[in-house]
Amino acid sequence: MTPTVATTCADPVILDQWHPLLPLDEMTADNVGHTILLGEQLSYQLDTDGAPVVWLAADADATALPVLVEYLYVWVCLGSPPEALFAIPEFAEPDRRNIHAGTIGVHVSAPRAIENFLDMGHFPYVHTDVLGAEPHTEVAEYDVHIDPDTNDVWATECVFYQPRAATTSTEGQMSDYLYRVPHPYCVILYKTTPLAAERMDVIALFCRPIAEDRIEAHMFLCLLDPDNSETVIRKFQQTIFGQDKPILENQYPKLLPLDPRAETPIRADKVAIAYRRWLSDLGVTYGVIPAA
């Protein structure tokens, strides 16, 4: 296993995805901004109608790349884009608050970040006294399936004891979770809220791959919480992700190994195993060490 880190992306599966560049409200008409996606320097600006325009910085003609505005972000494709992005119907519900909670750079591959997001076993150790606390460390059995229509990976029937599951929590609770992976570098979780019995908060991580082993992670929330200020909600979310960051940056190798013999799974890692297999089946090679 010799991880080599590619400088540009030659993976058609990844090139043909929509990638979340940045929140729409961080683009202006006044200035040209610059950023990196999959090793390519990009420039961007709003046009006079307020629509985002993105082009390769090296392209003298500044040919506009395909873009999409969805869930507060500008999405770009460097290859041939799929028609639509995955659906998050909750986004349109009138009583929801859609919040961009921040973007944090992490020196790790996107799939490692996704796998961390899918993992309940680390709550007591990494998010101590918030999302978990010793000795409540057990990850109960849960189910995993692939949706035959959308090909999304799902983990269902997940439960975990949490001392302070959200900004709205006042005491410990058994939280119910659903996890969904609709895109190689994007993950969504649905989580019990103390505020409504039948509905769930939606929390998503959209990773922008800067390089094979480096990302910026956008944190997107679609919550039922009517009370807490945006500042407080962002603080909670950034604290959580800030705790994951040093773990992710201490994982070796930085690319996610797809060979089953690279690491040691346990039953709690069922969804991670399914995600790795799913990446293999899609033929993803960027950000992973493909199985031999």
Binding site: V126, T137, I247, R267
Partner: protein, 586 residues
Amino acid sequence: MSDPRSLWHPVATSIDLPQHHIFHGQLLGREVAVWRADDDFVNVWENRCLHRGVRLSIGTNDGNELTCRYHGWRYANRSAGCTYIPAHPADAPARTICNRTFPAVERYGLVWSGEDPVGEPPLVPMLDDGTPFTLRSLPVNASAEIVLAQLRDHRFQPVGALDGDHAAMAVTELGDFALALTATGANYHSTAVFFVQPVDSDRSVIRAVLTDTPADSEQIAVLRHHATRLGQLVALAETAATDQPAPEPMVATIDQVSLALSVMPERETNRSAPLRVQVARKWETAHDIMAFELVSTGNPLPTFQPGAHIDVHLPNGLVRQYSITNGPGDTACYRIGVKLEAESTGGSQALHDTVNEGDVLAISEPRNNFPLRRDALRTVFIAGGIGVTPMLAMTQALQPMGLAFELHYFAQAEEHLAFDEIRSTLGDYVTVHLGLSPGETSAELTRVLQGYDHANQAYICGPGPMLEAARTIAAEAGWPDQAVHFEYFKNTTEIDDSSSFEIALARSAVTLQVPSGTTILEVLRDHGVAMPSSCEQGACGTCVVPVIEGDIDHQDVHLKQTERDAGDQIMTCVSRATSDRLVLDI
């Protein structure tokens, strides 16, 4: 030049390993986590948790075990075997989950290790003949080759004449990665040995040792003198390195995990006694109870978990099970306690009478059918007589984690209490109950087991009647079946083996007949299925097999009532079918 991977190299200094610290090092491109345990053993491990690849150097060292920061997996001192997986507190981790270790030897104030070193770490006669004094190590952003070249021109002053600048220098080559320099002045001379640790193709650490320790009053000045001079050398070496093209980084290969571990842990495959141990110590720990300390005669002993037992194969051909009493990280030996049974069929008798210090015994690898959860808010241990042995391992595992527990130890009289030396470290957590009648014992158990609360767990080991009493009392006190764990010494129920039925092996599509008088275990073995077993009387739980279909005639004492009711597992050494057919998941 020999392959650097076959050589010993320094990876740290001894003072880099204070109590409960984890040193982060690197050698030949491979990162290592280096830590000292409370028994002074120095561990040099691949700096990578087997679970999800997280650096172990960001974890914690409690003096016995190293705990990973990400999911709390614990790894034992010495063996680096995983002893606990918190996500599945009711499971015993597969014994074979073992991190990669490298050898470690402390010498000259340095810790020596290597990828695959041949022979002994270097003996440097000029250090062995002197009183070695370890200087401060310096990292350099340059290859070992560049650093060694610079060292050949390195200058310093002898102790006694630190202020001068004209000592004559003489070089002695000491192999591929070391050399000695002697500085001689008018009245003084000093020799320093310089070891260059190849960290990566473009990085090194200079680790230097003077042959003679200066007087106390001079030490700081000597250390500062060398720090300054070596600091100048580092600057020169780094300049030389930037003048050269950057070399390719070294690549350390990471071992694959075994095929078995890459999927769900597989069941063990046969009844065997692969380990050879020597009785290092035998002593009478209580009236009629002999304690044995068993040390390996070959490879280090495998990791065990609290609650684990070993099969001891006795000189007279009998096989007996004994719980390991050791606490976490105490992995250099196994300590067991053997009670002389009145109606002994020869097992305990043989150990008491014929096995002596120095004898070699064949034992199985440790097996854990009595796993300890470490996620309970309160754990109650109830031990009757020799049943205390697994509890000793368990309590020692919980105590350093600060988890609440109490051990109730029932025995006939003071002189029957075993393992004082362990119990005394448990202080107030132990309550001793002496000389109680069966009625008094039940009354005491009722007291002990009252007040069941969420996340309480009870572990009970002792004679059969006491276990049966405890089972009833716990149920009456509201303890759910899953929270009460029993370990039986033996199965005293009369086994009825008169039924006959057929078994279908789902995975191999084979159907076999089990005639009356023969066990499922025997039938499986006769047909070439390698089956593990231990007590072979339905007490230990080793021979369990999952059941997919059919009605089970449970005759063991290992399964809890809820597990029996679930009907999805069978102890193949005693239990049978009430239906005509059982479908087994093997």
